[in-house]
Symmetry: C2
């Protein structure tokens, strides 16, 4: 049993901020939160107390969507049209990542930067490479951070030649599932079809069956642009919509599922996501850079009860910084509300929820300091942001989101364990 003393903030519900100045969080030897208290309760009188007095203690962040192979492409080629960006940046990076030595270095940097940014849980689409994916899983296990990682399946040539053959893709995926599919700890395997336009029916069927047989989670992309909605509607004319096509293949909520973007969805699709507990990974910076659009009404999703978290979508997004993506999410929601009088903008507390408990819950009881949640936490020294005025914990949280950076994160915990710099 350990107690952590500091200025505590977490969001148990969308928009509901719990704050406690100079309070205590007690964490059992199992790494789970026992409770948050204003003073040390008698039953924990003998526990070690680690003091972070004057610092913020908040749940660590979850990143629900990123492409490991694309890490080197951050901040490059965003003036180009989508086709040029793919051919000049995306695919070359994908090929370089096939080299195990290159992949090893990129994977190490990715883990290091996730750590820097206070991301203790991530959903990662590695690339089509078997070797790079294995390496990434291995490095993650050593790091102490959590991630669901999968080899991307992409055997259908929607944009030219397919990235891999159906046979190789299936064989390598099966091998990875044999190696890692039984892991049930902080690092797990996740099935990762690129998206319907880049996967054959055979592949989607194979993955849907595998998900069901092995109880494996699924990640993919959904409705990032009007173009891909159109492609799916042509590929799958019998399905009511994009989401229904995934569902037919067993890739939409039959096992835990997260879908990136979700920008161009119908009301019916949103209701399906709610009903089937399919997560939307909102990727604000990517949506602005590409630009895919500002159409995801996150506030409405939260109010409807659709599970939603944030994604960096590196390298559509240029940064792993969750707080930068939080600011972009707030700004997008304000633009949406300016355009649509029926929509209201997100609040800081709501976007904080999506970055912590919203996304974190994809990994189980993660992202909050409620009882029996994994103690995934950040300690923030926000004294450099001090403005010579006494501020509440809620105000300091908002200020950290807008003005902070990784330098202000002084400690990270994942599952109750302090995590040191990976490299």
């Amino acid at each position: 049993m350990k107690g952590y003393k500091g200025d505590i903030v977490y969001a148990p519900l969308p928009g509901r901020l719990e704050t406690l100045e100079d309070g205590y969080i007690f964490v059992g030897d199992d790494g789970l939160v026992k409770g948050v208290f204003p003073v040390i309760p008698e039953k924990y009188a003998g526990a070690d107390i680690i003091s972070y007095s004057g610092r913020l203690i908040m749940p660590a962040f979850a990143d629900l969507h990123l492409h490991a192979s694309q890490l080197p492409n951050r901040g490059l080629g965003y003036d180009e049209d989508f086709a040029t960006w793919l051919s000049q940046y995306t695919y070359p990076a994908e090929h370089r990542y096939d080299d195990p030595e290159v992949a090893g270095r990129i994977n190490a940097r990715l883990i290091d930067e996730l750590w820097q940014n206070g991301i203790t849980r991530a959903v990662i689409m590695s690339s089509t490479s078997f070797t790079a994916t294995s390496d990434l899983i291995g490095q993650f296990v050593k790091s102490g951070l959590g991630a669901y990682i999968g080899k991307m399946n992409s055997d259908y040539g929607a944009f030219g030649e397919p990235n891999e053959s159906t046979k190789t893709s299936e064989k390598e995926t099966l091998r990875l599932v044999e190696l890692f599919g039984g892991m049930r700890g902080k690092v797990q395997y996740i099935l990762s079809p690129e998206f319907i336009p880049c996967c054959s029916d055979e592949m989607l069927t194979f993955l849907g069956n595998l998900a069901k047989e092995r109880g494996l989670p699924v990640q993919s992309h959904l409705a990032e642009s009007p173009g891909d909605v159109e492609m799916v509607s042509k590929r799958c004319p019998a399905d009511r919509d994009y989401a229904s096509a995934y569902r037919r293949f067993g890739l939409f909520g039959q096992t835990p599922t997260v879908m990136a973007h979700c920008l161009y969805l119908t009301e019916e699709e949103l209701h399906m996501m709610k009903q089937l507990r399919v997560y939307a990974a909102h990727c604000p910076h990517s949506n602005l850079n590409m630009p895919s659009g500002r159409h995801l009404p996150v506030k409405k999703l939260l109010e409807m009860g659709v599970p939603v978290g944030l994604g960096s979508d590196v390298a559509g997004g240029h940064t792993l910084s969750v707080i930068s993506n939080m600011v972009a999410a707030l700004q997008i929601s304000k633009q949406l509300a300016l355009d649509s009088p029926t929509l209201r903008p997100l609040t800081t507390a709501e976007v904080f929820y999506t970055a912590t408990r919203g996304g974190g819950s994809f990994f189980g009881k993660v992202g909050s300091f409620e009882q029996s949640f994994a103690f995934d936490a950040l300690v923030i020294d926000d004294s450099p942001l001090d403005d010579f005025t006494r501020r509440s914990v809620a105000q300091r949280l908002e200020r950290f989101i807008y003005c902070g950076d990784s330098r202000h994160i002084t400690q990270r915990y994942c599952g109750g364990v302090p995590v040191s710099k990976p490299s």
Copy 2:
């Protein structure tokens, strides 16, 4: 004479990027650029060479609009409606800044953070306080950085009580102009009516006359929201538009003028700005946070020839980071282009131009490495952003804009002089 060796990049025209890997910039003892060369020219063979090999050398940034008194409010209260934000955050900060001791500390931090962010020239609306404004000017002169600074005039109660009486405002402004109005170096006085709704006709007339008599530059706000356009149209029914009202008072291009925001302008107003060389200070993060709107078509202004630079508008904007505002400007322009098929998005080279030569030219020949421009420069060590691939100077610039931060700026020059950390 000194030579600086490195990977040089600057934008002499909107969208035109000049790059030279491993080149030289020669700077005279007068602090002015003599030229950019691929090898050392014979005539400069004896000059000292300072090597920044492998680093980027680029023009330093200009910030055309910020409120010194509001520095402490960055990242606070952005969920609130505008009226609450003013009453709970803006005005209390304004009052605290009246205390000379508080103002001294805020001014010191402002200068330090401008330095950190590579901003060597800024247009600053201090506050209504005479003392705080004098202090800021004094501290700036010591810093070695450049700024046009003015006491805000705000004697008309558009939102409740006026901030100051007409008499006091005039008296204090005259006194400041006596003290500092003759300065013609890097630090100068700028007349600073808050905006028409918060200034009496007497005040506007007084300032217009003063501008003309003393040849002083002018800063104010223009068309930040439909609400203020409406207020001005009621206050000044005889004027064709907002810009014409300023012009009638002698505050629109009669002397060098910069107007913040410029979101809701007519074609006629844009043409007036072009014709009268009135600068638009585009404040992207502020426009998104408040939210004022995404309506400024910067690309169109550049193509028309309206002078345009970037502004942080702290604390409507949450950051002094020019590169963060550059990313927001690019993202806004992409949203605008999605909405309006006649508009095209900004390019990296164009937004880089606005942040350097675009805004810099308000201060004279500043913001470029063309001959006879002041050597205002940043040295960027972008090696931590390296992606294991050889990249061009233009690509490295884009990557620094999206992924860099103040940590990558290793040296700042203003007017040929290296500037060390102010505090």
